[in-house]
């Protein structure tokens, strides 16, 4: 009987659509950190809101529980602001993560809300042209270099079935990394603390099979 039940479970899984592959796009908004100059003035440092492109491949291991590997690319700008002055510097990021997903509905449901959490790594790259004298350099230097950061991710979304094997997905997620202190290097030499949140809204299409 036990073997029969197992067979039944696997048979159901095989019958269910276990894999999902898709692409999406959206935008992200970063939080910022406050930096201080030697004279005590304050500046806000972070990344400017950025467009994002994402791709994922996921698997529903169980009826309500699954997981997916996701890559997200964002074209952004490093940003330093103080006293009405704004300095920007070209940048991009590449994030690779694995998220566990809990769905509020079976694989066959037409509307399938879900929550997710996971982690991975995010590569920040400064791509702008360095200047001999960068404005607001009393706070930080915006730098043409690369920096890997560990990343935590959490979010929620919903999948709509738009075809027999096609899904439309929309979701919000927060990619949390330590502050990229090599790209935005405080000029007083101190390492900035705290986390940088990248709130992403993504929409896309998936193919399930």
């Amino acid at each position: 009987m036990k073997h029969f039940c197992l067979f039944w479970v696997f048979a159901a899984s095989a019958w269910a659509q276990r894999w999902e592959m898709g692409i999406g796009a959206g935008a992200g908004v970063y939080t910022s950190q406050t930096l201080s100059s030697a004279g005590g003035a304050k500046a806000s440092a972070g990344l400017a809101p950025a467009a994002a492109i994402t791709a994922h491949i996921g698997q529903d291991m169980y009826r309500r529980f699954g997981g997916e590997v996701r890559y997200t690319w964002q074209m952004s700008q490093l940003k330093l602001s103080s006293g009405g002055q704004d300095v920007r510097f070209g940048a991009q990021s590449h994030a690779v993560e694995y998220d566990a997903m809990i769905h509020f509905g079976g694989v066959e449901a037409n509307v399938r809300p879900y929550v997710m959490f996971g982690g991975g790594m995010k590569l920040f790259q400064g791509t702008g042209a360095e200047q001999v004298v960068q404005p607001l350099n009393q706070f930080a230097y915006l730098t043409q270099t690369s920096e890997w950061k560990p990343m935590l991710s959490a979010g929620a979304g919903v999948k709509y079935r738009v075809g027999r094997k096609a899904l439309f997905r929309i979701e919000a997620r927060d990619q949390m990394t330590p502050f990229p202190g090599k790209l935005i290097a405080p000029s007083n030499g101190q390492a900035p603390g705290g986390w940088l949140h990248d709130f992403l809204i993504l929409a896309g299409l998936s193919y399930s099979f």
Partner: protein, 986 residues
């Protein structure tokens, strides 16, 4: 004899004595009156006036291809825009009893068919426009000829144009003299211009609008040629350059006016005019100078270069459509000039206009300087040098370009032992098509009591003006049609303003916004915005009026004009309308002035003084807007002229009151410059004495010898008046226009000064103590110089401002002087304990003892806007920028460090001389450079090429260098060293 010397000798021996002529003559066995270019068929049609044929010359082979026999005396021809029709006019204006043979021939170039039409009146010229119709001008009418129908349509008639009659005496047999008319068309074919003896015509092709303007000229308007730019906005007619409205905006200097000698062609792609306009009104056809093609600027006729021609041009010139070739009527027939390849021809020139030598109280021995001779085509071309002045020697009198010739001057052999002596070096280059300009040697032999810092400015300088509102002054360079703009603090040139031909005098409007410049060879005055230094629309003067001298009062702007007529006039300028008009009368006096008249307005704008060479004086009163005084108390006037804000005037040696009555007369030499500033007055006299004048008594105060003699007016120069002194608005300094440029005097030049005192000597790069042979050092102290002055001369001078420095008795090159700091370069030959002595007008400093180490490297620090601290001069080769926190070093980057104090080099370089680029001069003691303790590989450590006392180290940031915000970069050399922090990233 070396092989190179032998080759030079052989080259010079083999070469002809004259410069190489440019262009190829195609003799045609007759006298050509006109040409037309047919590029589609690759031929040039030449109207052979005396052989009664149209010669067809191949452009490819530059030879006579064929000839069309036509009616007698083909005087003018033109090719239709579609290339089908060639229209020829025949100037057969024979007088009775001979039969007139005036005619027009139409040649269909596609069929070779010809038709000849008899004309009632002698045709002076023909020119096709863009509409395919040929404009024919006769002595009585304008006709439009349609080559398709053969119809001659009457456009208008003309009176009072007298055509020459034939036959003429033998001596006047040149076609240009006989026909005496020329036509030209704009590059777009929309504008046709014609020049005759008494009329100028402008024909607008598409609306078929003709405008005729009678004129007179002296000398006659030759060469009899018209060349037009692309859109018809500028045209050269005879010896004038005119705009579309017919205004004379520039003219050739002192033209001979010969109709049959010379030519010009507009090259609108390069905005130049290739021209031969012989000089000298008295010149005769039997004694013409060698033919020369002048390349002049298309907007103001500024002479750019002179090219030798094989023979005289003699009428029309045309340019090929691509601007590569010019074809001209010439004495023998036609001449082909490949002007597009002029840059590839041998064109020898000196790269310096002046070479300056300065003996000073530190250095009275033989002086030397460098003269660079180059061929602008980049080729090796033989040249030779000569001078008639004794005491001047050349390292070589003959050589091959490119060459640097060392010129040595023995001050003891100079004709004069004080002040400035000028000498001329003549360059001969038999293979060069360019006629090299002579080089002026300026040898200043300044005595210790001669004050002032001489700044060399080449060229013919004729006027000086201080800006009343800006810390600037202006010098008129007449030979280059420019106003040179100088900064009043650094005395460096900060700009130049292009004027029209032969600028004469400057004036600044009372609102201090505009400068107006008068000209001797343009019937217009240039206007410049002094805030932006932009050229604005010129002021156009009445025909024949050349506005030489200009002055602006609070009410009116006046111009003293040289008039091509019986009487010279004073005109009133309307700055808004950009026009001028002559006064009917000058108050109760006739408007007739000497052509050599100088106008000057007081700073308060209340009046304008007109000082005339014939001794007449006039005063314009701005309050009454009229001339209120006229006096003539002397036979002639000349020299300095000035007006004060207190209605006092100076002309020559006379001090005049508000009624122009001479109240006192200065004794001694003639004044060359006089300047009022508030209640102060300065007088500058030949042979170079500046003295203050007490306005109350007129007595002179502390006459002081100046380093150079002033530029004076003279009858030979054409202007008997001179303005050689200006007091800067800041009253920091007095500028004097002197023989080799200008001389700067501190405002208190005549005050007693304390001897200089050297307190400290530091490395110029980083301000630390320590010096090495060849290092740039800064002397800190007091009374080191009366003025601030920096030089960009190379080699560096051994006297700057009025200061000179010796190290162990040897003159030392200097870069910068000021009252509290002097930057100089130590000799490479001295090490150990040395003694420095500074000489200034205040006296001689005490000895300053300095220890010179073999090496004491110091990296230059730069003050960069936006960075709080001076930044080491370390450049990142990756992006060419200075390495800073926001432009950090990366592992693998190549860096260039600029420093001084690295000691002797191989090959050795003399202090003050620029370091060579090939071979590079490498330091004798190699340095080590480490970044974060990791030694960096070095590509080069030695003198930076082209600089004096500046070294550079080229290094590569090691892949193993640590990264961080403050990574120590350390340079060590010969026991000395320096270090600082750099930001390094991965």
């Amino acid at each position: 004899m070396s092989r190179r010397r032998l080759w030079i000798l052989l080259t010079l021996t083999a070469a002809p004595a004259a410069a190489a002529p440019f262009g190829r003559v195609v003799p045609l066995g007759g006298q050509v009156s006109d040409i037309a270019l047919d590029e589609a068929r690759q031929v040039l049609y030449a109207a052979n006036f005396t052989a009664n044929r149209i010669d067809v010359v191949s452009l490819g082979s530059a030879s006579l291809q064929t000839s069309y026999n036509v009616a007698a005396q083909p005087g003018s021809l033109s090719l239709s825009p579609d290339g089908r029709w060639l229209v020829v006019t025949h100037f057969g204006n024979f007088e009775a009893p001979l039969a007139a043979r005036n005619a027009l021939t139409l040649i269909d170039l596609t069929t070779n068919g010809r038709q000849t039409f008899v004309m009632a009146n002698p045709p002076l010229g023909v020119q096709f426009g863009i509409d395919g119709q040929a404009l024919v001008i006769t002595s009585k009418e304008f006709l439009l000829f349609d080559p398709v129908t053969g119809v001659l349509q009457l456009l208008g008639t003309l009176e009072n144009l007298v055509a020459n009659v034939l036959p003429k005496p033998i001596g006047e047999s040149y076609p240009a003299n006989l026909v005496a008319a020329a036509m030209g068309v704009s590059g777009d074919g929309r504008w046709i211009y014609c020049l005759t003896d008494s009329y100028r015509f402008r024909y607008e092709v598409l609306p078929r609008r003709m405008q005729a303007l009678g004129y007179t000229s002296d000398p006659t308007m030759g060469p009899r040629a018209v060349s037009v730019n692309f859109d018809g906005t500028l045209l050269a007619t005879g010896w004038t350059l005119r705009n579309r409205a017919g205004n004379n905006i520039a003219q050739y200097i002192n033209p001979a006016g010969l109709l049959s000698v010379g030519s010009h062609a507009f090259d609108w792609r390069r905005n130049v005019i290739y021209s031969q306009v012989p000089e000298g009104k008295e010149i005769k056809l039997t004694a013409l100078p060698p033919p020369v093609l002048s390349v002049v600027a298309g907007d103001n006729l500024e002479l750019i270069e002179k090219i030798e021609l094989p023979e005289n041009l003699a009428g029309r010139s045309v340019m090929s459509a691509d601007g590569q070739a010019m074809y001209s009527v010439s004495d023998s027939g036609v001449m082909f000039l490949p002007v597009g390849r002029l840059n590839e021809e041998r064109r020898v020139t000196a790269l310096e206009e002046d070479v300056v030598f300065r003996a000073n109280s530190c250095d009275r021995k033989v002086q030397s300087g460098e003269l660079r001779i180059a061929d602008l085509s980049g080729r090796a071309t033989a040249f030779s040098l000569s001078t008639a002045t004794p005491g001047i020697r050349f390292s070589t009198t003959a050589g091959v370009t490119p060459a640097t010739v060392r010129v040595t001057v023995d001050p003891n052999a100079m004709p004069s032992q004080s002040g400035t002596v000028t000498a001329t070096v003549t360059i001969a280059a038999p293979d060069s098509v360019r006629i090299p300009d002579p080089v002026r040697l300026v040898i200043n032999l300044k005595d210790p009591d001669q004050r002032g810092t001489v700044v060399n400015v080449p060229g013919k300088l004729t006027d000086l003006l201080a800006d009343p509102a800006r810390d600037r002054f202006y010098i008129l360079r007449q030979d280059k049609n420019k106003v040179l703009v100088f900064d009043g603090s650094t005395y460096q040139r900060i700009g130049e303003l292009r004027t029209q031909q032969t600028p004469w005098q400057m004036a600044i409007t009372m609102d201090r916004r505009y400068m107006i410049v008068g000209h001797d060879n343009a019937q217009a005055a240039s206007v410049f915005d002094l805030d932006t230094l932009e050229k604005l629309d010129p002021i156009v003067f009445p025909g024949g009026h050349y506005p030489r001298s200009i002055a602006a009062s609070g009410r009116a702007i006046l111009a003293a004009t040289r008039v091509a007529g019986p009487k010279h006039k004073i005109d009133r300028v309307d700055l808004v309308a950009r026009t001028a008009s002559e006064f009917a009368t000058l108050g109760p006096w006739e408007n007739s002035i000497d052509d050599n008249t100088a106008l000057v307005a007081g700073a308060n704008g209340s009046s304008i003084l007109a000082a005339q060479a014939d001794g007449n004086l006039l005063l314009y009163n701005a309050s009454t807007d009229s001339f209120t005084i006229s006096r003539r108390d002397v036979e002639k006037l000349g020299g300095a002229y000035a007006a004060s804000s207190f209605d006092q005037f100076v002309v020559g040696n006379a001090w005049l009151n508000s009624s122009l009555v001479t109240t006192r007369r200065f004794s001694g030499s003639a004044s060359a410059g006089f300047a009022f500033s508030g209640a102060d007055a300065l007088r500058f006299t030949a042979p170079g004495v500046m003295e203050r004048i007490d306005p109350a008594t007129g007595s002179t105060i502390r006459p002081t010898r100046i380093a150079e003699a002033p530029i004076e007016g003279s009858e030979a120069s054409g202007n008997v008046f001179s303005r050689s002194t200006a007091i800067l608005a800041s009253r920091k300094a007095v500028i004097a226009l002197t023989v080799s440029g200008f001389t700067v005097l501190p405002w208190d030049y005549d005050a007693s000064t304390a001897p200089p005192r050297i307190d400290r000597v530091v490395n110029s790069a980083d301000g630390r103590s320590g010096a090495a042979p060849g290092a740039l050092v800064s002397l800190l102290g007091s009374n080191l110089s009366p003025i601030n002055l920096a030089t960009n001369e190379m080699p560096l001078p051994t006297a700057l401002g009025e200061s000179c420095l010796t190290v162990n008795g040897a003159p030392t090159p200097m870069i910068f002087v000021s009252p509290t700091q002097i930057n100089a370069q130590l000799p490479f030959t001295m090490e150990g304990n040395v003694t420095m002595v500074l000489r200034t007008p205040g006296g001689v400093s005490d000895n300053f003892n300095l220890t010179v180490a073999p090496a004491a490297p110091g990296v230059f620090r730069l003050n960069v806007d936006g960075l709080p601290d001076p930044t080491p001069a370390i450049y990142n080769a990756r992006n060419g920028g200075l390495a800073t926190g926001s432009n950090p070093l990366k592992r693998g980057d190549s860096i260039v460090i600029y420093l001084t104090g690295m000691g002797r080099t191989s090959p050795a370089v003399e202090a003050g001389q620029p370091a060579p680029a090939d071979p590079l001069s490498v330091v004798d003691f190699p340095p080590t450079v480490s970044l974060g303790g990791v030694e960096l590989p070095l590509a080069f450590a030695g003198l930076a090429p082209g600089t004096a006392g500046v070294y550079q180290i080229n290094a590569i940031v090691s892949r193993s260098s640590p990264v961080g915000m403050n990574v120590p970069l350390e340079i060590r050399q010969g026991g000395g060293g320096t270090s600082f922090s750099m930001r390094v990233i991965e």
